[in-house]
Symmetry: C2
Subunit: 393 residues, 2 copies
């Protein structure tokens, strides 16, 4: 096992009756908070009112930044930090999906440095070491941003998504209330759930070094659990147990335990250039790419058959076909059917009228401009990436 | 799922080349440290010298408390705190098994209050809220004290084991080096490993409420992993992968993730009154009791058959016998054989020449003087406990 360091300090308040602790967490750091949210769904579900009442009843000075975009823009982050600086705000609370929580982290860092542009931090033009305390309240089970230390921001002018990360950005406290995810649509539930699976595939399950018994078995178990519970959350939006399972799984897929000792590069997330290019949900793009990537790898390199066979048997629950290659194929087929029949998601780009026009640009981005990702599960050339994109059509 | 709060702040340095970070962690809090250890096995394996060199080369003022007992005595704790007070020591480092780390936590708390007797804290005669920073370096995979917030201390005069707990006692950093466990004897390895399994059984696997899919599946996976890897560690003391798996499993079995949302009382640990009564290793006592407890429960209450059957199939890997009762019996038999044939541990008290003489006292202790543990997996009366003890003869 490779040496590693592990620490995750986030305090998690999990459940439907934890909101009363919010003011305690805010008041630990001062008397004010910037509440960051997106398009207003938190108002529709009544969460906004509950949060405001909890904060104001406890004499917290509340400021707001609404309208954070699904791929949060750096200009929005800049706006948030300006509010914090002008009002000496002492904490930032992100309520919403990963984008909102990511934006909150970026705002928290930008507030404490001597520039008004987050992109100076992203491009390392301005050094940063500190940040306002971040609090998080996820309303979808997906990115796991509520327990991790990084954030991704979009610079639309430059056509780039990038980010910053550091332990100081990890939320001090996160409020995970499964009922706050009840109103997430079946499609977004499915996309968020597949994002969780992709996090597990990418750095923790399809790994380029020895499998560590403990971490590997736990990751497989998380995958199997999501595979079992996600369709329930899709079909029964108010099933508390399924929603709770997904929400807790999202955090665990990305809170560093699963990766402990692994150093595999995230190939699927590198291939996933569709969301920024075609304005597509990140999890949907991953759901389209993953089975094609697996099929391509299996055709190209038989040494993956054992891993994919195990995936088929232990995660997808296929019947044993007798040999690795047959089980691997059955596993991929089961995954494709799961996405189509149980998650009810599109499985090709054509269904969304997307053509191959931009693939030549995407294949470069998929390799971060290099020849390949050298530490990926199986390094792929730009040509390989192009071939996989064509399979997605 | 019950609401819960989860936070585990310990920084883990895992692996064989992490000792160089020790002085950084010590110097975060001041310039000195009390190094607490047991009977000298850390000198035999060369760890003592390495630690001393690392600390002294970096100008840390080192004080020592040697000779902490397997069930750490409150008088030893008192002695440690006296050294800390007299020398204004700024951190405590426990190197050894759970006892040593537990003693370090108690010393850390006692140093900052106005009494010289830890038992005043245990009995709540003196209030305490703070503690010196604790650091830990486990040399056996067992209690998980290196990531948890409690400690157990023995008061020999009163014939009682009890403790204190609080977030402030959780080690700030723990150094988990699998090679530090290479010299643990096969028997102690087996006992430590069974202790891990018992932690998982007790609050997280045999639960008195709904099983939560995520936590339950992960706990089952941890159990299966320990069941597979522990015999390897017993047979091949220098198998790094098996030792690493056991060490990381010990921490995870008790670091609060597995219990998240559960409130089951630890019945096996309540029944385990043998170690303090007969000077027996805690994990061995648990290994003797567990199969008997399962057999007794299955005979008394058929509703456990489903859980025990699942245990047999998914943890012990038995062949499916067709129905729950048969699978449950086969599962218990497989566990008993595992303890005897793979862990090479005694399975009865008679083998150690222990008679039933003290059972009447033990049955009272097993219920903490009450009629039963009301929140246990299946509450047992004192009479039930006595019957189980008789099965252990």
């Amino acid at each position: 096992m490779n040496d590693f360091q592990f620490q995750n300090t986030t305090k998690v308040y999990f459940g439907k009756d934890q909101l009363g602790h919010l003011h305690e967490e805010v008041l630990k750091y001062g008397k004010s908070v910037l509440v960051v949210y997106g398009g207003g769904s938190i108002k529709k579900i009544g969460l906004y009112d509950k949060v405001m009442k909890e904060l104001k009843d406890n004499n917290v000075e509340v400021y707001e930044l609404a309208g954070v975009e699904p791929n949060p823009r750096h200009t929005t982050v800049n706006k948030g930090a300006k509010i914090c600086k002008e009002n000496n705000i002492t904490a930032v609370l992100g309520i919403g999906g990963g984008s909102t929580i990511d934006a909150s982290k970026a705002i928290a860092a930008l507030t404490l440095v001597d520039t008004d542009n987050i992109w100076d931090l992203v491009e390392k033009k301005v050094a940063w070491h500190d940040a306002l305390p971040v609090l998080a309240m996820p309303t979808i089970a997906s990115t796991g941003s509520e327990m991790d230390k990084s954030c991704v921001i979009a610079n639309v002018e430059k056509g780039v998504k990038s980010g910053i990360n550091g332990d100081i950005l990890r939320p001090r406290a996160s409020f995970l209330d499964p009922t706050n995810t009840f109103s997430v649509s079946p499609k977004q539930t499915a996309c968020g759930g597949f994002d969780i699976m992709a996090h597990l595939f990418d750095m923790n399950y399809f790994v380029n070094n020895d499998k560590y018994p403990l971490q590997f078995n736990v990751v497989e178990t998380l995958l199997r659990t999501v595979r079992q519970q996600l369709p329930i959350a899709v079909e029964e939006p108010e099933n508390y147990s399924a929603r709770a399972t997904m929400l807790w799984a999202a955090s665990w897929a990305l809170n560093s335990f699963c990766t402990s000792g692994y150093k595999t590069q995230a190939q699927l997330h590198a291939l996933e250039q569709f969301s920024s290019t075609y304005d597509m949900t990140h999890g949907l793009a991953l759901a389209i790419i993953t089975p094609k990537w697996m099929t391509y790898l299996l055709n190209k390199d038989e040494t993956v058959a054992g891993d994919f066979a195990r995936f088929g048997l232990n995660v997808m629950g296929i019947q044993d076909q007798g040999d690795d290659m047959a089980n691997a194929k059955a596993g991929i087929e089961a995954l494709q059917n799961f996405i189509k029949d149980e998650l009810h998601l599109p499985t090709t780009l054509s269904e969304m009228n997307i053509t191959d026009e931009k693939f030549d640009k995407l294949k470069v981005k998929a390799c971060y401009g290099q020849d390949s990702l050298p530490r990926a599960y199986r390094p792929l050339s730009q040509e390989d990436c192009l071939n996989i994109y064509k399979m997605c059509l």
